[in-house]
């Protein structure tokens, strides 16, 4: 029996040396076993890089599975709630997958790399579930998390930087498209995807070429304000974009013990991802029943008065806080929108778009706590949705 080398302690991504060189705060945490920075110098500055220039985020720890084999499409179409037969090779789909009870296991992106070959990226690990889903089908599942280094390059100047770096044909790449280019003798995959709600790309490369990629990228971006960012900046950007996060805005069904703590896609505002025209997918029977009988919860985007973030606040139907109907899961003051925003979960039928709810905000001034009831309007659209995000070709700025 040969010895297997098991990494000790926190793993380092292939970009670690570059991140460490830029780091001034020494504030790191773990993400699926990897050490990643909360911020490298200043979370606010990093956030503004995303909105005004370009922020570069190391997303290598993102869980990545390769799904292939003759039944790959059948497999993936049964796995997720949306119709994957519409996702052509070279396209990416945001998708959500459920257990048989129609409760969300996780959400993520599925890259149709080439005909019949997919990459599924998600926050959580899903090996057991994905293997179970392959029972009786001719599909192979490979965990390639460590085999692919990945960077998110996000912000208004990202297109200009990548073009300057020499990526040809990027201008034609539409949102949720992907392309392959030669890079240092290997294949670099570029997808127009991201978690910031802004113009942006994600780069996927052989870990051996990770540092070269970083260096070329930063060389090309120097004059347009490229900055490495940590997870704090990204967190703010994703709330502005209205993106939900596993373990924060919903609990992955497989990590949930108590009944009633999980959520269905319908309860997370993801009904547009559930295609009942498909005859079978995991959770279909339960979701069809839920659609008939009504959901219990609704995810709401809140525009709250005042400027005090409503972290962990209870949500009420009335200003006198008599009827508690839910709670805030993500909250922030949005610098770019100049709005006090939040994502929350409320009991149906509360929270229809346009309606007014109340959140109970606690804030502290010099040790003493104060409480205020703040009016919150339920909004329909993402808080931040700039035109440049959908523009093809993007502006060369």
């Amino acid at each position: 029996m040969s010895a297997i080398e098991v990494p000790q302690g926190r793993l380092r991504t292939p970009f670690y040396s570059r991140l460490a060189a830029l780091d001034t705060l020494n504030s790191w945490h773990t993400w699926k076993g990897y050490t990643v920075p909360d911020a490298l110098y200043c979370a606010d500055t990093e956030y503004f890089a995303i909105r005004n220039a370009t922020g570069v985020f190391d997303l290598t720890p993102m869980t990545k599975y390769r799904i292939a084999g003759p039944d790959a499409l059948v497999y993936i179409d049964r796995l997720v709630t949306r119709d994957m037969s519409k996702i052509r090779p070279g396209r990416v789909a945001y998708a959500v997958w459920c257990n048989d009870q129609g409760q969300v296991i996780d959400d993520g992106t599925i890259f149709h790399l080439k005909d019949g070959e997919y990459r599924l990226c998600s926050q959580e690990r899903h090996c057991a579930w994905l293997m179970d889903a392959a029972i009786g089908l001719d599909a192979s599942i490979t965990d390639e998390t460590a085999d692919v280094a990945a960077l998110a390059v996000q912000g208004p100047t990202s297109f200009a930087i990548l073009s300057r770096m020499g990526i040809d044909g990027l201008g034609e790449l539409k949102p949720f498209g992907l392309m392959h280019v030669d890079f240092e003798g290997t294949e670099l995959m570029v997808s127009r995807t991201g978690f910031t709600g802004d113009l942006g790309y994600e780069l996927w490369v052989d870990p051996a070429k990770a540092e070269v990629l970083w260096d070329k990228l930063f060389a090309a971006g120097e004059i347009t304000g490229i900055r490495a960012i940590g997870t704090d900046a990204l967190e703010l950007a994703r709330i502005e974009a209205g993106y939900i996060m596993a373990d924060i805005d919903f609990l992955p069904a497989h990590a949930t013990v108590r009944t009633g703590r999980t959520r269905s896609p319908l309860e997370l505002g993801l009904d547009w991802l559930v295609d009942f025209k498909k005859p079978n997918f995991n959770g279909r029977r339960a979701l069809a029943e839920e659609k008939r009988s009504g959901s219990t919860w609704r995810l709401v985007k809140l525009d709250i008065e005042g400027n005090k973030p409503a972290h962990h606040a209870y949500i009420f139907a009335d200003a006198k806080a008599r009827r508690n109907i839910g709670f805030v899961t993500s909250a922030a003051w949005s610098p770019v929108c100049k709005q006090n925003i939040a994502l929350g979960t409320v009991r149906m039928p509360h929270g229809a778009p346009g309606s007014n709810l109340w959140v109970e905000v606690f804030y502290q001034r010099e040790m003493h706590w104060s409480r205020m009831m703040a009016r919150a309007e339920v909004v329909d659209k993402p808080f931040w949705f700039p035109k440049r995000r959908g523009l093809t070709p993007p502006e060369l700025v």
């Binding site: 049964r78 179970d132 029972i135 005859p279």
Partner: protein, 513 residues
């Protein structure tokens, strides 16, 4: 051209026939498709050597539910009835038991056995009520399910405080502990242990083997009989009842797949390419075969597929058929006792030791054996003056480490004959032909995955509310129009007809709701 039916039953096993007959009696146009040449599934009689016939799989009738018998007007002609069990001893000091009576043991054991039998049959009666109903769902607000649950609770309470506690204590424990606590006679302990583990991948020390013992007693308190003409004649009678009710039965029609259209069952397609349409397909095949092979994973959800795939169903019981030119001599056995059931299980440890190798994919070096001589009372089975011997031999694991080939089959046959030979020394010289059906052969001949009698191990985690799997215990599978009616569904195997009857009743009730 396709034919349309109200319901199609896949497989003419005894449960399939019961289900089809009851559906037809309720006015449905029913088609039964059987893969084999003859109806009956594992309840058939067939020739295994020139002029010698035998019940090829199940060979004793003791679980046929009285309700099935009554509703279908069955009155099988019995060659033997109320057979006693003779636990063979090499020195001829056999132990015999039947009903509440045991002989050949000390007085203390006689009264202990009487008490044991009374208690066990009482519990078995309670169990039997629920073997004949659709198991309730847990965590539901359906009135019917809640009512059944409430009744179950009430029935348990009605046993009385002490008896209820005993029942709840016994249901999960092993038969070994129970028989060693109650009896002194090793032969009695051995034979009862064997009764509890017959047809399972369990040894006497395995959990819930008291439950499997109760299951055995449920329908008729363990009263053993053999139909005239073997089990096949019962199948024929069932088929006749079905035909009379208007069922069309077609044999030599192996179903290749269950047709699924727009997320629901639309019919079946045979291996010959014939297609039959029906919005209701009832499968008498085992759950694994039904879902994984006939339906296909793509048409059902992942959690369900995983559960079905994980059903434990490794057969361990082999059938040994011997053609004899005369009855062998067994010390201390009266001539008329050849019409009884003879077992080789000298003590409870012997049974456990026989099981041990099976855990590692090997056959028992000293198997436990259940023997009958069906030709003794039934002259239709063998030429005049000749005899057949039908034995269940354990343990012969389905997944034999080196695979089942002719050499392995021959070796195990030899082991069995040697084992029996210790009790019947002239047996070998009387054998003119033999046949061993290993679980692998049973799988091939009767299309039962793993060759397991019960279409899935009879264990608490695969019983009642969770048989065949959690969330699908009410005969209805999570695919519209698909139902199970075989031993893989509640309550389990044995020639009882309960699964077929319950399934038919469920379907009729659901469709008229």
């Amino acid at each position: 051209m396709t034919e349309r039916y109200d319901a199609i039953v896949i497989g003419a096993g005894h449960n399939g026939l019961v289900c089809a007959a009851l559906l037809a009696k309720a006015g449905r146009k029913v088609l039964v498709l059987e893969a084999n040449e003859r109806v009956g599934g594992a309840a058939i009689t067939r020739e295994f050597a020139d002029g010698y016939s035998v019940s090829a799989c199940a060979h004793l009738l003791y679980q046929l539910q009285p309700k099935v018998r009554k509703e279908l007007g069955l009155s099988p002609k019995l060659a033997s009835d109320a057979m006693q069990t003779v636990a063979l001893a090499q020195d001829g000091q056999h132990v015999r038991y039947s009903g509440a009576k045991v002989t050949g043991v000390a007085e203390a054991d006689v009264s202990s056995y009487r008490l044991f039998h009374r208690q066990m049959t009482r519990f078995a009666d309670l169990l039997n009520t629920y073997l004949n109903t659709t198991p309730p769902r847990l965590g539901t607000s359906e009135f019917r399910d809640l009512a059944t649950l409430a009744r179950l609770g009430f029935d348990l309470r009605r046993l009385g405080r002490d008896e209820m506690r005993t029942f709840l204590r016994l249901i999960g424990i092993n038969i070994h502990d129970e028989v060693t606590e109650r009896f002194d006679s090793p032969l009695l302990r051995g034979a009862l242990s064997f009764d509890a583990v017959l047809g399972t991948h369990l040894g006497p020390r395995s959990p819930n083997t008291v439950m499997t013992y109760l299951y055995r007693l449920a329908a008729g308190h363990g009263r053993l009989s053999v139909p005239q003409g073997g089990m096949g004649s019962l199948a024929e009678e069932l088929a006749q009842a079905a035909r009379t009710a208007g069922v069309t039965i077609r044999t030599n029609m192996p179903v290749e797949r269950i047709v699924v259209e727009n997320g629901r069952v639309a019919g079946v397609e045979t291996a010959g390419g014939e297609r039959f349409e029906s919005l209701t397909v009832v499968s008498n095949a085992d759950p694994k075969r039904t879902i994984m092979e006939l339906v296909g994973a793509r048409h059902v959800e992942t959690g369900f597929t995983r559960r079905i795939n994980n059903i434990r169903m490794r057969g361990n019981a082999a059938k040994l058929h011997l053609a004899l030119d005369g009855l062998p001599g067994i010390d201390g056995l009266a001539k008329n006792e050849f019409g009884d059931r003879l077992v080789i299980a000298p003590d409870e440890h012997y049974v456990e030791r026989a099981f041990n190798p099976a855990k590692y994919g090997e056959c028992s070096a000293e198997p436990v054996v259940e023997m009958t001589f069906p030709g003794f009372r039934d002259k239709t089975l063998a030429p005049t003056g000749k005899h057949v011997m039908s034995c269940v031999v354990q343990y012969a694991p389905y997944a034999l480490k080196n695979g089942w080939d002719d050499a392995a089959r021959e070796a195990f046959t030899k082991t069995c004959i040697e084992t029996i030979g210790r009790y019947a020394p002239d047996l070998e010289s009387r054998i003119t032909a033999s046949e061993l059906l290993t679980p692998a052969d049973i799988e091939r001949e009767f299309h039962i995955t793993g060759g397991h009698w019960h279409h899935g191990e009879l264990a608490l985690d695969q019983f009642m509310f969770v048989r065949p799997v959690c969330g699908a215990a009410q005969y209805r599978m999570p695919l519209d129009g698909l139902y199970l009616c075989g031993a893989g569904a509640h309550p389990g195997g044995g020639v009882s007809g309960a699964a077929g009857r319950n399934a038919a009743r469920f379907i009729i009730r659901e469709q008229s709701a």
